[in-house]
């Protein structure tokens, strides 16, 4: 059953070209010429065709200006295509730009009705869900206060709560998951997986590659308005990283080599008590364990643990051999490498962690796992800036000052 079909869809925008004023025209004539002149055409989408089956979650990724937002706008009927046909089988709702339909002068309650009906809900339907919407947003106390007095957090929570109570057949998700604090992101993700389990067809348009990989059954890569890759999220994301960051695609490389001497079987994360978790705190212990199976003896192997920010930027990589300089020889059979860090340097946020194994002599990876694990870092030790440095402080003072200080104490 196909819920969504794009059939050779193209969208052309006209970019207005202003007269530079050199032509000898009077101001009025020039303005008229500017308004009516032929504009330069820009194809935001060119012959895009794809289908989404019922219950499937499709991720759409691509660099800025690739046409992602155009697909979103076409699907949500904000604008019409220049040619081609889009068939939507079912009620489609878009969870985009939370709170964009709010009016600051109206109360929270009035805004629920306003925003709900803009998103296509009936008043009766909203009235039935009103209590649940308020409860989920956690703004019961202020529900009859104009939303202009709301904090930005309350604003977002109320907006999300309304959107989360829509019951679409097909859900369109934008970067909503990227806004709000870590706990809000988790709440969003939970709600989305819940909808998935109930069989809702989802189109997820995002820069958040980790979320795309985790949530989607299939992904589609756009560049310059055309589809350049479609398939398993892992593969499509690798292709995206190749064009966006110039990364070497591991999947392609491993495809060249049919036989992997070593395979990474699992990557797991542990807290200080050796309990598996994905939640960590800045400046607190962090451990990872890479389980592998070696099919033959590998002399001088190296393991890597690397980290991406939520938008897919490569931020960090740690090597086993760089740590102690000793050679690692893998004997055939199963084994594991553990990584221990007593103070995690990452600032609060959502990251993805991956692992790779390679031969030190050859620069090629033997096996590579991209962003396999989500990592939620919450505020532990507080520092400003982009990372935390493991440290301790020592204070040196003259003996006089020290005795004085002791006297004060």
């Amino acid at each position: 059953m196909i819920d969504l079909r794009f059939n050779r869809v193209s969208k052309k925008y006209r970019i207005q070209q202003h007269d530079d004023g050199r032509a000898r025209l009077n101001p009025l004539a020039r303005r008229l010429k500017n308004l009516l002149s032929r504009r330069q055409d820009f194809w935001a989408l060119r012959d895009v065709s794809f289908e989404v089956t019922r219950g499937e979650t499709l991720g759409i990724i691509g660099p800025n200006g690739a046409g992602k937002s155009t697909i979103l706008k076409l699907l949500s009927r904000i604008t019409a295509p220049t040619s081609g046909e889009i068939v939507i089988n079912g009620r489609l709702s878009a969870m985009i730009e939370i709170g964009s339909g709010f009016h600051p002068e109206l109360t929270g309650r009035e805004n629920i009705y306003l925003n709900g009906s803009i998103l296509g809900m009936r008043r009766r339907e909203i009235a039935e869900k009103l209590d649940r919407i308020i409860e989920f947003a956690g703004v019961a106390e202020f529900i009859d206060t104009p939303v202009k007095h709301y904090s930005s957090g309350m604003y977002v929570r109320l907006g999300f709560s309304i959107a989360a109570h829509l019951n679409p057949h097909i859900l369109l998700l934008d970067e909503v998951l990227a806004v709000g604090d870590a706990s809000f992101q988790v709440k969003c993700l939970q709600r989305v997986s819940e909808l998935r389990q109930r069989g809702t067809t989802i189109v997820f348009i995002s820069h958040d590659l980790a979320a795309v990989e985790r949530l989607c059954d299939r992904a589609l890569l756009l560049n310059h308005g055309r589809i350049i890759a479609m398939g398993l999220p892992r593969e499509v994301i690798a292709e995206y990283r190749r064009i966006a960051y110039g990364d070497t695609p591991p999947e392609q490389m491993s495809a060249e080599i049919d036989f992997k001497p070593v395979e990474i079987m699992n990557l797991s994360l542990y807290d200080s008590q050796e309990r598996p978790t994905t939640n960590f705190f800045t400046g607190k212990p962090f451990s990872a364990r890479v389980e592998y199976v070696a099919h033959e003896r590998v002399v001088d192997a190296a393991f890597e643990l690397f980290c991406y920010s939520h938008d897919g930027a490569y931020i960090h990589c740690q090597f086993t051999t760089a740590q102690d300089g000793k050679r690692i020889t893998l004997e055939p059979g199963a084994g594991a490498v553990e990584f221990h860090c007593s103070e995690l340097g990452l600032q609060p946020g959502v990251y993805t962690i991956g692992a790779a194994v390679k031969e030190r002599a050859a620069s090629r990876n033997i096996d590579w796992r991209y962003g396999d694990k989500m990592l939620h870092v919450e505020e532990g030790k507080y520092v400003r800036g982009s990372f935390y440095l493991p440290h301790d402080w020592r204070i040196h003072q003259s003996t006089d000052a020290r005795t004085k200080q002791q006297a004060i104490r």
Binding site: K73, I78, V87, G90, I118
Partner: protein, 294 residues
């Protein structure tokens, strides 16, 4: 606390499978069947029309001391000024009725018309935030301004009742003709609101020109003077203005307790209907890619 809430079901049951609407989106085109489809869709969104209209009325008078009283103050003060100038100084005829009442009745209807148009022209552009983010039939936006103006008209009508009592003008059953007359006025206002708001999305000149045009239009309509004062040779041209039939007949059924002149009212109604269909088709054509240019 948050997690305990999450575990509860959100949204209730899944929508039933058989109720799946199929939407087909294609490049914009003009077709006669489109009109019926558009109207069906508009009917589907009637709750939004209602909510936005209520919102429009509420927001307009929020954080203002006099609130809804402004709906009365506007035509009332215009009436006082016109009475002062055209009755005491210039001595304009008023078909035998007290000039204050004569002017107020016409101003009541005219104000409704001009407020609807003046506000709705900018209606789409001032909601560009919404227009570029969510889909709903865009005609709802200008329509809400027309409905809000009709609401103000109702409030201001109460003052008319007081004035009529004061001057001892009786009200007859013929006053019920006011309803179809106001309907024609509303259709005409809607037609022009659709036309102007869609054009404003592309050419902002419209917003600047509208107050000026409305002022000229007011003087070309029998508001401060009676239709009988217009020289006979100008009449045919004058009657081209569809608001003439509306205003003159409105005054006629209220003040002169006579049935309307069906000829002029019919012409106005016909013009309004034609204009409405044309401007609705035009509006929907512009709407398709409005978000790109707004």
């Amino acid at each position: 606390m948050a997690s305990s809430i999450q575990s509860k079901t959100i949204g209730g049951a899944l929508p039933s499978i058989d109720a799946r609407p199929v939407t087909i989106i294609r490049a914009p085109s003009v077709s006669p069947f489109g009109l019926i489809k558009n109207l069906t869709e508009l009917a589907h969104y009637r709750d939004l029309l209602y909510t936005l209209t209520v919102h429009r009325i509420k927001v307009r008078y929020k954080q203002s001391l006099l609130g809804g009283a402004w709906a009365v103050i506007q035509p009332l003060s215009m009436m006082l000024i016109f009475t002062l100038v055209f009755s005491l100084i210039a001595r304009v005829p008023s078909d035998g009725a007290p000039y204050a009442l004569f002017a107020y009745v016409a101003l009541l209807a005219w104000n409704c018309f001009s407020t609807a148009i003046a506000n709705s022209t900018a209606g789409l552009v001032s909601h560009s935030q919404l227009v570029t983010k969510v889909y709903f039939p865009r005609e709802i936006l200008p329509l809400t301004y027309v409905l809000a103006a009709l609401f103000d008209f109702l409030i201001a009508s109460s003052v008319l009742a007081v004035l009529m009592l004061y001057y001892g003008v009786p009200l007859t059953l013929n006053a019920l003709y006011a309803l179809p007359i106001i309907l024609v006025l509303a259709l005409l206002a809607t037609a022009i609101a659709l036309l102007l708001s869609a054009t404003q999305a592309r050419f902002r000149d419209v917003g600047v020109a509208v107050p000026l045009v409305l002022q000229l239009w007011m003087f070309a309509t029998p508001i401060i003077y009676p239709l009988s004062a217009v020289p006979a040779r100008f009449r045919p041209l004058y009657l081209f203005n569809p608001m003439v039939g509306v205003i003159e007949n409105f005054r006629r059924v209220i003040l002169r307790c006579a049935p309307p002149d069906f000829n002029s009212l019919g012409t106005s109604a016909f013009t309004a209907a034609l204009l409405l269909i044309a401007s609705y088709i035009y509006f929907k054509r512009v709407e398709a890619t409005m978000a790109d240019i707004i």
